[in-house]
Symmetry: C2
Subunit: 217 residues, 2 copies
DNA sequence: ACGTTCACCTAACAAGCGTTCGGTTGGTGA
DNA sequence: TCACCAACCGAACGCTTGTTAGGTGAACGT
C-alpha cells in the first residue's frame, strides 16, 4: 500500500504540526537557532548535543522537537541562515564598491565574505566549520546551498580574465578566506586588511628576483 | 591518605602493561592504525567509533584497549605518524630540489606537503581533518605537533623576503595546500601542478591591467 | 467566560558509545 | 614438554545520546 506514505512529513503525529513561522511573541526559536549556531560553529555537529543547545537558552532537550523535527533539521536551519547572511554581506560589500573593475569587485566580495565568517553570531562560521558529508543525511541539501553561493564566485573569478585555471583560483580564494576563522585574532588585522592582502598577493608580483618586479622595489 | 595515588598510571591493572613496541609478529597494531587513519580522516574523530576501526581489521572493540589506553590515544598515535609522514615527504621533496633558490624550495616543500596530504594511507589527511580543539584532552599535544611542523614553513616563507606579512602568507599557503584534500579529484591535476600553480600565482602578476605586467602577456 | 492552541516541561525510551574485565588460544623460550 | 605470555575474544558495564509521548499553564480568539 504505497498510496499515502509520509508525503509531506505528516507521519506519526496526528495534529501537532510545528508552525513554520512564529505565531506568538513568546516563541524562542530564534534564541534556539542563535545558540545552535554558536555550538555548531565552535564544537562541530557531532560534538554538539541537543541538550547543549537547549540548556544554553534555558530550555529542556525535548522542547527542541516542537520547533525542529530532528537535530539534522536544526543544523539545516542554521546552515540556510548562514548562507543567507554571507550572501547579503557580500552583496552589501559589492554595493558599497562603486568602482566596478573586476579586481576591486573581487576584493569587495572577499571583504564581505570574511566579515560574515568572522561575525560573532556564528551563523556563517557554521557553514565553514561543518563540512558537507559530515552529516550524510543532509549532504545533498548542504551541497546545493554551497553551490548556489559559489556560483557568484565563479562569475567574479571569471571576470578577472586571469591567465590561470579559474577553478583552481576560486577554490584557493575561498579556502584562504575561510581559513581566517581558524587563526584570526581580533585586533590584529581587520577583514578589509585581509581582503586587501589576498588581492595584493595575487595582483602584484612578490618575487624580488622577478625581472618584471624591478619597478616596485 | 594521599600518600600513594595513581602516581604514574599504575592504577587498576596489576601487571597487564601493553608494550610500547610490537614484540610478536602476529601483532596487528599497524593494521589498526591504518584503519584508524582512514576513518579519522574521512569521518572525523567523533563520528568514528572504536567498533568502526576494529571491525575494519576483523577485531573486536575491546581488543583495541590492549594496544591503546583510550580512543584519544589512538588518535594521537595516528596524528604523530601523520606529522612524521608529512615531514619526511617534505624533506624528500626538498632533497630532490637541487636549486636552492627560496621560491624553488617553497615550491618543492609545497609539492611534498600536498603529496602527503593526498596520500591514500590517510595518515596525513588526519592531521588536516581533525582540528586541534576537536579533542580537548589532546589540545596541547596536537598543538605542539603542529607547531613543530610549521616551524619549517616559517623559515621557508621568511627566506622569500616577500614584501608582505610573512605570517599571513604562511597561513594562506598552508590553508591553500590543505584545502586540496576537499576538492581534489585524481587525474585532473597532480600535486606538482598544484604546487606550481600556487607559486606561480604568488610570484607573477596576474592582473592584465597591471602596468608591471606588460611583458608577460 | 471559555475552549483552544501555543510553547513548553517531565519523564522516559532504546540505541549506541567508550571502556572494563575475566577468559582463551596459540606461539615461544627453557 | 610445559609453563608463560602476547594478543586477542566475549560479554557486559554505565553513561550519553537523539527522540518520543503525555501533561501543563498561560495567552489567545470568540
Amino acid at each position: 500500500m504505497e498510496g499515502d506514505e509520509e508525503v509531506v512529513g505528516v507521519s506519526t503525529a496526528t495534529k501537532t504540526r510545528p508552525p513554520t513561522v512564529a505565531t506568538r511573541s513568546t516563541n524562542r526559536v530564534s534564541d534556539l537557532l542563535d545558540a545552535a549556531a554558536v555550538h555548531f560553529a565552535t564544537q562541530g555537529y557531532h560534538r554538539t548535543t541537543i541538550r547543549d543547545v537547549t540548556s544554553a537558552v534555558g530550555m529542556k532537550a525535548g522542547s527542541s522537537y516542537y520547533h525542529f523535527a530532528s537535530k539534522a533539521e536544526m543544523l539545516l536551519a542554521v546552515y540556510e541562515e548562514g548562507v543567507r547572511r554571507v550572501q547579503s554581506s557580500v552583496d552589501d560589500a559589492l554595493r558599497d564598491q562603486h568602482d566596478d573593475a573586476p579586481w576591486d569587485r573581487l576584493e569587495a566580495a572577499l571583504r564581505g565574505h570574511i566579515t560574515a565568517v568572522l561575525d560573532p553570531s556564528a551563523y556563517a562560521r557554521t557553514i565553514v566549520a561543518v563540512l558537507p558529508d559530515e552529516v550524510p543525511e543532509l549532504r545533498d541539501e548542504i551541497a546545493t546551498l554551497r553551490d548556489g553561493y559559489e556560483t557568484q564566485w565563479r562569475e567574479l573569478v571569471d571576470a578577472l580574465d586571469a591567465p590561470v585555471d579559474a577553478q583552481l583560483l576560486r577554490v584557493f580564494l575561498l579556502s584562504a578566506a575561510n581559513s581566517t576563522q581558524t587563526w584570526f585574532r581580533r585586533g590584529r588585522s581587520s577583514p578589509s586588511e585581509i581582503a586587501r592582502f589576498i588581492v595584493d598577493v595575487l595582483r602584484h608580483p612578490m618575487d624580488p628576483t622577478d625581472p618584471t618586479d624591478a619597478a616596485s622595489r
